[in-house]
């Protein structure tokens, strides 16, 4: 499996270097470059990374093993020999392609989106650095190097979320993301020390190989698994560390797209998928992963119902979809999780970029209550957003349907967490899928369909975005629609994706129910998606229609009435209780978790203050402190030393 440079697959090693070079060039010289040049340099860097990733992909087709390449010896500490090395296998190549492919489209889109920003060299430098860190993360052959990328992603996200730092809220959001992530990082570090102590190595392949020799369900594996789960919940915004992600919308919209679709939040999924042989041996830890995932998915979906910010709705939907992936990973359906990462990257990037296109057209407006009917003025954006909406909702034959169905099926058939309520997981997940369809329909309807609620001034200025922004939308829409066919339901069709990933992931035995049960599962997910969409249609279209007929009158009056009537219908029909729950959750979110973090910070500064108060500046008090310390030691020595 050891590769050499003559093997084209190994060239993927260069991918992070290309991105890093782009970052350095932009960071150090970009300020002096004329307008589109920073974006072009950054784009070319990512394109180069994509090219080597694509070469690796082509080279790997038909091969079982990946290519490992050791670059140099890194950390020769007592008994531990950690090298800097990369692994290019099916798993890392899949992520490479997603990161660089979607990343490239986002770069292209950014060239236009950030055209007027005076700081766009800094923007592109950070964007490239972000991509480079993520590439290091997925290529790493050891947990140490993986942590390098892991931290790099954290730092870049922090700087990008706070990119428009003139608004204090934005800088605060950046800081929040950073600090919450650090809590996860502490889990990562602790887990890694435990791994080093248990296995005597930090090389992922060796850890995975050794994990197989442990007893199934061994306590130490469970502990390691849970600690890495802490790390993953931080990075992938899972309950209860998900609070940073909705605030992270403060960054420029393409950054949100990058964070949500291609990088950062998928790092947690990647980490656990990478360690899948370890998790496959630790059913208790896996069950916790699955339950954290399902709780997150449900909570975030309910919270998404009550949002009014075009990007916040999408943010909660990301958290929810990540919950789906966690469930998949927890139940042992690793390929399904990666497949959902793959499809989600397309439709979520698409949705965010469409949202960005809308925000761009409305000059910064983000409140969906002041949108509506935009699909008529922005045909391309509207159409592609509709494809994205249907894909994420799980409408048959679009990509989201196949990946979600794989997760639901995997949950139902799981043997790994069979004793930990896999059927309950399935039911909750199915309900969440219905909610997803509902809130995504609401999102689409409020923004693109229905009557326009824009002011006349704003409405006059609405325009379709330039082709630099729409071409990525179209490409992403194509993928969002078609990518699912790579992973058809495996019980009845050839599933290329699963076969491709098989050598890189642990294989967990699954239940094999009769074929009609499998079909029933598929039917269930179709029905649920349809129900969600129908409920959305019923409340929005019908509610609006009825009110509109009653109110009549001028366009503006109808708009106001329609809005009110809509809200009334919303409350009366479904969302009343749901909103109560959502409101409650929002309170829990804001008050409990935020306040918890605030309390943590306050507590920290209290300790700090105590330290400072102790630091009076009086030399006599310092001497007294030293004397007291000394006296205490003398007493200890007298007490202990008196005994033989």
């Amino acid at each position: 499996m050891n590769g050499t440079w003559s093997d084209p697959v190994a060239w993927a090693t260069l991918a992070p270097l290309f991105a890093l070079a782009g970052a350095l060039a932009n960071g150090l010289f970009g300020r002096r470059w004329p307008e589109p040049l920073p974006g072009i340099v950054a784009g070319v860097a990512v394109a180069a990374a994509f090219a080597v990733s694509a070469i690796a992909f082509v080279g790997l087709i038909g091969r079982d093993a990946g290519v490992a390449l050791t670059l140099w010896s890194f950390l020769p500490v007592a008994g531990l020999d950690v090298s800097v090395g990369v692994v290019v296998d099916a798993l890392s190549t899949t992520f490479l392609l997603v990161i660089t492919g979607v990343g490239l489209l986002i770069h292209v889109y950014s060239v236009d989106y950030m055209r007027d920003d005076e700081d766009n060299a800094r923007y592109f430098a950070l964007l490239n650095l972000f991509v480079a860190s993520m590439l290091v993360l997925v290529l790493a052959d050891s947990l140490v190097l993986l942590f390098v990328g892991w931290e790099g992603v954290g730092v870049c996200s922090y700087l990008l979320i706070g990119f428009w730092f003139r608004k204090k809220a934005n800088a605060d959001a950046g800081r929040k993301a950073f600090i919450v992530n650090r809590i996860g990082d502490a889990g990562f570090v602790l887990a890694s020390f435990l791994v080093a102590a248990t296995f005597g190595t930090l090389t992922i392949a060796e850890v995975n190989a050794q994990a197989g020799t442990f007893a199934f369900g061994a306590g130490v594996l469970t502990t390691i698994g849970l600690l890495y789960l802490v790390a993953a919940t931080g990075k992938s915004a899972q309950f209860p560390l998900h609070v940073w992600l909705p605030d992270a919308m403060a960054g420029p919209t393409p950054v949100s797209a990058l964070i949500h679709a291609a990088t950062m939040v998928t790092a947690g999924i990647y980490l656990i998928a990478r360690l899948s042989p370890l998790y496959a041996q630790a059913p208790a830890a896996s069950a916790v992963v699955a339950w954290v995932g399902v709780l997150t998915a449900l909570i975030a979906a309910i919270a998404a119902l009550a949002q009014t910010d075009i990007k916040r709705i999408l943010a909660y939907s990301t958290i929810s979809q990540l919950g789906f992936m966690f469930v998949a990973i927890g139940v042992g359906a690793y390929a399904a999780a990666v497949f959902h990462v793959f499809t989600h990257a397309f439709f979520k990037a698409l949705l965010f970029l469409a949202a960005g296109s809308v925000i761009h057209a409305l000059h910064g407006e983000q409140d969906v209550r002041r949108m509506g009917g935009l699909g008529r003025r922005m045909k391309l954006t509207g159409t592609t957003a509709l494809i994205g909406t249907l894909a994420i909702s799980g409408v048959p034959l679009l990509s989201g349907f196949f990946s979600k169905e794989a997760i639901l099926g995997g949950t139902w058939n799981s043997t790994l967490v069979e004793d930990y309520g896999s059927r309950v997981l399935f039911v909750l997940l199915l309900a969440t899928a219905g909610l997803t369809a509902f809130y995504m329909f609401r999102w689409y309807h409020r923004v693109f369909a229905g009557p326009s609620r824009l002011t006349k001034d704003a409405a006059a200025k609405v325009h379709e975005s330039s082709s630099l922004m729409t071409v990525p939308l179209v490409l992403l829409a194509a993928f969002a629609a078609l990518a699912g066919f790579l992973g058809l339901p495996s019980f009845a069709f050839p599933n290329w994706f699963k076969g491709w990933l098989a050598p890189a992931l642990a294989q967990v035995p699954t239940l094999h129910p009769p074929l009609w049960v499998e079909w029933l599962l598929v039917l269930a997910s179709i029905v649920v998606a349809a129900a969600g969409l129908f409920a959305g249609w019923w409340i929005y279209e019908r509610g609006k229609g009825a009110i509109a007929a009653k109110a009549g009158g001028g366009a503006l009056g109808r708009f106001a009435e329609g809005g009110l009537g809509f809200d009334a219908a919303y409350r009366a029909a479904v969302v009343g209780p749901a909103e109560g729950v959502a409101g409650g959750l929002a309170i829990a979110d804001r008050d409990l978790l935020d306040r918890g973090i605030a309390a943590g910070v306050t507590g920290s500064s209290l300790i700090g203050r105590a330290v400072a108060a102790w630091q009076s500046g009086y030399v006599r008090l310092y001497a007294l402190a030293m004397f007291l310390g000394l006296a205490a030691l003398a007493v200890v020595a007298a007490v202990v030393g008196g005994r033989p």
Binding site: L75, V77, A78, V155, A186, F193, G641, R643
Partner: protein
């Protein structure tokens, strides 16, 4: 010349002697000429010469494979002393160059300044090479007396005078405790030299274990003061803030490294000498409590500071706590981890102070965080350098600070101090906040009308920064360069 055998291999004294000779030369040169500009160069020559001799001796000792002693075992040339001398001299050299770049502005070109720096470094060398407690005390005093004066260097600055005075008074107190501890240790074992103490305590009829414990605790306190373990750390923030910034940089690397070298040797010997059992558990327990407290106090103290210099001062306390983990771990792994941590910290710390120097006012005041606002756009190179240094100090990979923390935690866990390592990891999370604040201010904050423009950097300061930065990145990516090198020689076992 016929030497009595007790004199030993005098060649190990050459680096120290070189420093002292250059101190004398610099002093005489300074009082006889008005050519102040050459003083820094002369001092640097001395440091480099001492460095060359040290490396030469080190290589020779490695080839020979045995420790060399002089003056009847009072002065040792072993893996510990060479490695730490090497770090001390690197730090001293960087600090000399740093001071030289700002000598006129900060009035560092008086004839006494550089000789005192050299003497302090010489004291540090004696400290880490001491084979007995008396020599150790001697080295400590040579170093400390010079640094007391340096800390009070800024003329007409009450803060600086206060810093020097405070340091002196408390330092004298600590030295007294150390002397007391040495006396008690001698009372218990009848020996001053480490080997003798170990041998005496190992004797089957050794009865004065309680007395030895008291002596060991007092010796520990005397040294804990110098490395700034809580609760003996309180002088440090005040002194670091008050001293001229190049001196602060010097203290944060040379004084700290030297004191840790001595601490490693002393605790290593005394912990072994006290053996197992209830008495033997006290010293590690006291050390563990103190180190835990140090990490908490240092990191939380730094959290509240609005001045960058003072923040770095508190963070120096915190870093002392992390190195303390390695001291507690002891053994070869502990010594090696500590040496890596201090080696890389030397570069990062000097570079951080170098950047800070170019941002402060002419009178070496004004270190408020707001001054860094907008630095990312105004001075991208400077800001990038400071950002890398801050991330490294915060323990972010792939920089050296991360590896430093990793090896230190690893050593602590391997030695069975997992709980303390967990505390270290948790406090490191806190540390991220205040280091990140610096980075954020540089990149995510608009300068206002009051934000001063950073002055152009003297070329010499730029060199210091470049070296510090390069080392932080290179030793972060290739930690093996140092760890492999020092791991290849027998360490602790070679000491005795």
């Amino acid at each position: 010349m016929n030497l009595p055998p007790i004199m030993g291999d005098l060649v190990v004294l050459v680096p120290v002697v070189t420093l002292v000779v250059f101190a004398a030369l610099t002093l005489l040169f300074g009082v006889f000429t008005r050519e102040r500009a050459a003083l820094g160069g002369l001092a640097l020559t001395g440091v480099i010469a001492a460095l060359v001799f040290t490396v030469f001796l080190w290589l020779q000792a490695r080839a020979g494979g045995v420790a060399v002693t002089a003056l009847g075992g009072a002065f040792r040339g072993d893996a510990l002393s060479y490695a730490f001398s090497f770090i001390i001299l690197i730090g001293a050299g960087l600090a000399v160059v740093l001071a030289d770049g700002h000598r006129v502005r900060l009035q560092l070109d008086q004839p006494e300044f550089h000789p005192l720096l050299l003497l302090a470094a010489a004291g540090g060398l004696v400290l880490v090479s001491a084979g007995d407690l008396v020599t150790l005390l001697l080295g400590l005093e040579i170093m400390s007396l010079a640094v007391y004066v340096l800390a009070a260097w800024r003329e007409r600055s009450r803060v600086s005078e206060e810093a020097g005075m405070k340091y002196f008074l408390l330092g004298a107190f600590a030295s007294a405790v150390l002397v007391y501890g040495i006396a008690l240790t001698f009372g218990a074992t009848g020996r001053f030299d480490f080997a003798g103490i170990a041998a005496a305590a190992a004797a089957p009829d050794f009865a004065a274990r309680g007395l030895l414990l008291l002596g060991a605790l007092f010796v520990l306190v005397g040294l804990a003061f110098k490395v700034a373990f809580a609760p003996f750390h309180q002088w440090l923030p005040d002194v670091y803030t008050g001293a001229p910034t190049p001196v602060t940089a010097f203290m944060s690397v040379v004084v700290k490294t030297a004191a840790f070298g001595a601490l490693l040797r002393t605790t290593g010997t005394l912990v072994d000498a006290l053996g197992v059992g209830p008495i033997g558990e006290v010293l590690p327990a006291v050390l563990a409590v103190s180190i835990g407290l140090t990490m908490v106090v240092g990191n939380f103290g730094a959290l509240l500071q609005s001045g960058v210099k003072r923040m770095l001062a508190y963070s120096a306390v915190a870093h002392a706590g992390y190195v303390g983990l390695a001291v507690l771990a002891g053994g070869d792994a502990g010594v090696q981890a500590a040496s890596y941590y201090l080696f890389t910290y030397t570069f990062a710390s000097v570079a951080a102070f170098a950047v800070l120097l170019s941002l402060m006012d002419d009178d070496d005041r004004g270190d408020r965080l707001e001054r860094l606002a907008g630095l990312g756009r105004r001075r991208p190179w400077l800001a990038a350098a400071l950002a890398v240094i801050m991330l490294s100090l915060a323990g972010f990979p792939p920089f050296a600070g991360f590896i430093g923390k990793a090896v230190v935690f690893q050593a602590a866990i391997a030695a069975g101090h997992a709980a303390l390592a967990v505390l270290g990891i948790s406090t490191a999370v806190v540390a991220v906040v205040f280091y990140a604040r610096v980075v954020m201010t540089m990149y995510l904050r608009e300068p206002d009308a009051h934000t001063p423009v950073a002055r152009p950097i003297p070329r010499r300061t730029a060199v210091v920064m470049a070296i510090g930065l390069a080392a932080t990145v290179v030793f972060g990516l290739f930690p093996g360069l140092w760890l492999d090198w020092i791991a290849r020689a027998p360490w602790w076992s070679a000491g005795f």
